[in-house]
Amino acid sequence: IALGVRSVQALLCTLRAVPSPATRALPAEALAAGGGAVRTLRTRPALLSVSKFTEKREWITTESDTGTVGISNFAQEALPEVGTKLNKQDEFGALERVKAAREVTEINEVLAENPGLVNKSCYEDGWLIKMTLSIPFRTKDLMSEEAYEKYIKSIEE
């Protein structure tokens, strides 16, 4: 399915999610989005952390305070054709509701020439946008995630 960048942008908000293919990763932070639904970020013990949004078709990779957003393989198969009309009010709706997002800094312009990249390489070259995060994701080492979970549980009633 061929895509123009504009329809891809507009679709970010309407995408619902499914878990992206497994990376064995550790939960790191949570992003609150739309109506209080929370998605857990999963991190690999590497410089780049790939995260899954449970029940969402987007993924976000974080490096310090920058996030890169794309869509999962499942989602790219379901995208409508170029020219499909979408409601204007939906544009960037999901991104605005993502509490941690501060500002969209970059849109993948390569997609304008080569929209099929989203289909061919949805996790890498087919990324959609980059944004700065107002809540930077801190580096977490492998051993600390359990401790973090325990800590959160211990302070919650």
């Binding site: 932070e29 949570a30 992003l31 609150a32 109506g35 209080g36 929370v38 605005e96 509490k99 941690a100 501060r102 107002s134 809540i135 930077p136 994701f137 801190r138 580096t139 977490k140 080492d141 600390s144 995630e145 401790a147 973090y148 325990k150 800590y151 959160i152 211990s154 302070i155 919650e156 009633e157």
Partner: protein
């Protein structure tokens, strides 16, 4: 999209007990209000800010101070209190910015772990705004915000029925020698520091307040309503 509002309550330099008392009143008020959808115009909670007037050591849910230690610290002229927050023992006193956001997380659409992350981000951002790069938050058991191996801001939070209490304590011009009498947050061999120590000049809580509020609004994506505004 309209941002949620949080009431800004600046106590100035007051005894720690006064901050706790006000926190309790806000907790009762927020826990009494029904539902997750607040009618427009109602705040999502309050941001309580103060500078402790006197030295006080506090222990958390997991304890942190034995009866012997408590007696010894009292003999130094400090108060000793047990609180319901997470974490172990720490110190509060003049020169420190104490920030207790008493927030209904449902009204802000925040999970508890995001609130903790946001508090850390406020301290990190404040350090940046003061010209200090390299501040970073660390995971438990090193919860807090650090510059290298020196902790500049302690974080200890509690959450009951979606309402948060306690928060952060940022050393601006705190007399760091008070920390020598405890193992801060139970971490043997770690250091503490302050903005004054790092910047090699006297940095007061008053100086730090405006940029801190800017950071808070930016990170929590809320507006702050001053307490002398109409309710």
């Amino acid at each position: 999209m309209r941002q949620p509002a949080v009431r800004l309550v600046r106590l100035g330099r007051v005894p720690y007990a006064e901050l706790l008392g006000l926190q309790d009143r806000w907790l009762r008020r927020l826990q009494a209000e029904p539902g997750t959808e607040a009618p427009s115009g109602t705040e999502a909670g309050a941001l309580l800010l103060c500078e402790p007037a006197g030295p006080v050591y506090t222990a958390g849910l997991r304890g942190g101070l034995t009866p012997e230690e408590t007696a010894r610290l009292r003999a130094l002229g400090a108060e000793v209190r047990v609180t319901g927050r997470g974490g172990l023992a720490t110190f509060h006193g003049p020169g420190q910015l104490l920030c207790h956001p008493v927030l209904d997380l449902r009204r802000l659409g925040l999970r508890l772990r995001m609130h903790v992350a946001a508090l850390e981000a406020c301290a990190v951002r404040l350090c940046e705004l003061q010209g200090l790069q390299g501040a970073r938050a660390r995971s438990p058991p090193y919860t807090g915000v650090w510059l290298g191996d020196r902790k500049i801001c302690a974080i200890g939070v509690r959450c009951g029925r979606h309402i948060t209490s306690h928060g952060l304590a940022l050393n601006c011009s705190t007399d760091l020698t008070w920390f020598e009498h405890i193992v801060p947050c139970g971490l043997v061999g770690t250091g503490v520091t302050s903005l004054s120590k790092e910047l090699q000049r006297h940095v007061t809580v008053d100086e730090v307040m405006p940029p801190f509020l800017v950071a808070f609004k930016e990170i929590y994506k809320c507006t702050l309503i001053s307490e002398d505004s109409p309710n």
